[in-house]
């Protein structure tokens, strides 16, 4: 028993280190993208301040010195990394406010939206995935199986607008733009959840289908097990691993989707300020948002990695890919 605990502890530590490495990589990518790609943030920043007059070389040099941009790149990188570890991503070029403050103000609204959408996608996706394997009528099966493809194909900015058009403007069931209350959450959460639900339904449906073709499903059928016992009692757990992996991807979709959905519904949130910052090339804000997103993404995938050994006893804490037992 002690050996197992020991192995699991090592596994957790290793996954934690991997998650940290992933966030560090994301930070480095943003740093490299911002410093090395063409486009001069300082010139942009000054032109914004001065109105129409072009910045003088002295102004540029002075600003560069103030921001520390005249130092060698490794030094800049090291300082930026140290600051980021303390939660300091510098200040917005547009507003001059600290990026960390902007993020912490908008994060709760986005988390609320994301959590609601996550729950919706998991519930709806699981239901459709199971139903597609449970119903008897071939036409219903076919229909349920092609449903996810539709959900994935519809652009979410368009789905949001159609929902707004119908439910807010035409039938006035839900408030339209800018509302933050619970009723205001319904339409954005549904919009954000749709592609995610489709993804879960697709992966779970396919995985369940494959599971039910395995020889052991025949053993269970030959024991007199009915469809429900087969699909829900045995299939679901065996099909869970691809679906849980998909749920990890789903969080990435939700984070990205929040940018679009918050823009469509004019909801204040992290996505909204990111959308604005990209348009203004407000690089510190973009960097902060990207690193926060990568952090959330890494944490969720860490949680999922830790879930695998619980879901499947064959996956020992040290290996993620289990072969079929021979």
């Amino acid at each position: 028993m002690r050996l197992v605990v020991h192995g699991t502890g090592k596994y957790v530590v290793r996954r934690l280190a991997q998650a940290a490495a992933v966030v560090w990589a994301a930070f480095t990518v943003t740093f490299v993208a911002i410093r090395l790609l063409p486009g001069d943030p300082v010139a942009l920043m000054l032109s914004g301040r001065n109105g129409f007059s072009a910045p003088t070389p002295e102004q540029v040099a002075e600003t560069r010195a103030r921001l520390g941009l005249d130092r060698p790149l490794p030094v800049q990188y090291w300082d930026a990394l140290a600051d980021a570890l303390h939660g300091d991503f510098g200040s917005s070029i547009q507003t001059g406010r600290p990026v960390s403050a902007m993020i912490s103000e908008t994060l709760p609204a986005t988390l609320q939206l994301g959590a609601a959408a996550l729950v919706l996608s998991l519930v709806a996706g699981t239901a459709v995935g199971i139903a597609a394997n449970l119903v008897g009528a071939p036409w219903a099966r076919q229909w349920l199986r092609s449903l996810p493809a539709v959900g994935i194909s519809l652009p979410s900015f368009w789905v949001g607008l159609v929902l707004l058009e119908l439910l807010s403007f035409r039938w006035r069931v839900f408030p339209s733009f800018g509302s933050t209350g619970l009723t205001g959450l319904v339409l954005p959460a549904c919009t954000l959840a749709l592609p995610g639900a489709a993804l879960v339904a697709q992966v779970l449906g396919k995985s369940l289908h494959d599971t039910l073709l395995q020889p052991y499903a025949d053993t269970l059928r030959a024991s007199g097990a009915g469809a429900w016992r087969l699909v829900v009692g045995h299939g679901l757990r065996n099909a869970a691993i691809p679906a849980v992996t998909a749920a990890g991807l789903l969080v990435g979709h939700l984070i990205g989707g929040a940018v679009v959905v918050e823009t469509v519904f004019s909801r204040p949130g992290l996505g909204r300020i990111t959308q604005a910052a990209v348009g203004e090339q407000d690089l510190p804000v973009v960097q902060g948002a990207v690193v926060v997103a990568a952090l959330a993404f890494a944490l969720v995938n860490l949680a999922i990695d830790l879930l695998y050994p619980i879901l499947d006893p064959r996956i020992h804490a040290t290996t993620r890919t289990a072969g079929t037992p021979a």
Binding site: T28, S146, F169, I255, A294
Partner: protein, 283 residues
Amino acid sequence: MIDSSPIAARARRVAGAAARRPGLVLSVLVLLLTMGWVLAPDWFGGQSPTAGVAQQRLEPPSGRHPFGTDQLGRDVYARVVHAAGLSLGTALAATAIASAAGVLLGLAAGYFGRTADVVISRIVDITLSIPSVLLSLLIISALGGGTLHIAVAVAVTSVAGFSRLTRAEVLRIRTAVHVEAAALCGARWWRILARYVAPAVVGPVLGLAALDFGLVVLAVSALSFLGYGPPPPAPEWGALVASGRNYLATAWWLSTLPGLTVGVVVLAANRLSRALETERSRA
């Protein structure tokens, strides 16, 4: 007898297969139609996408204007048709960049030993550590907006998929019994790469490219919806939806119909990729 000629038999077989899968036939027709929009927008679009008729502002869909008109009296259908070139061109460029880069990286990672594999796989993994929309936004904020930059920004998020698929296929084929048998028959590495590995990689990559194309169309239109696309006079699907947003309460067709077009095209690409996939797994 006419029926016994091989061409007629073949045609009947194709027709039979088509009748069994009406969704696939419809998808191919949709993709052919949009291809027509790209190649001959004037012929398909009919009216001018940029010149508006002042008296016909914000008209709902009708026989004369199938998708209605916008606030300047421009025909929305013509704008959608003319936007196809830019939207699909950007998406095609992105898919081409992503698949070419991904396949090369995947081949190298799978074939040239452990060091190459570790280095390439780590670099590819990094692009997966950032949610794809945000990675695109990061690149756009560094490069600035515009068609080419959007294509690059979207392509970067797709490279990992192609690279991983190619690598996995190469590793699978490399250890396959028939490749070992080829080595015993004296085949050298370049011959194995060209005649054993490459043919096995082409099918899955094409399948993924078709699937990816649909997702790329979505991503490109989302980015231009957010306002990073080409500047206004040039029509683009996502931008058309965005511009219709201000008239949501009064002129539903302005954003609904261009958006629906995007959805239908993506759905068709999805359907085609699924058909390619099943065809391959059956062969």
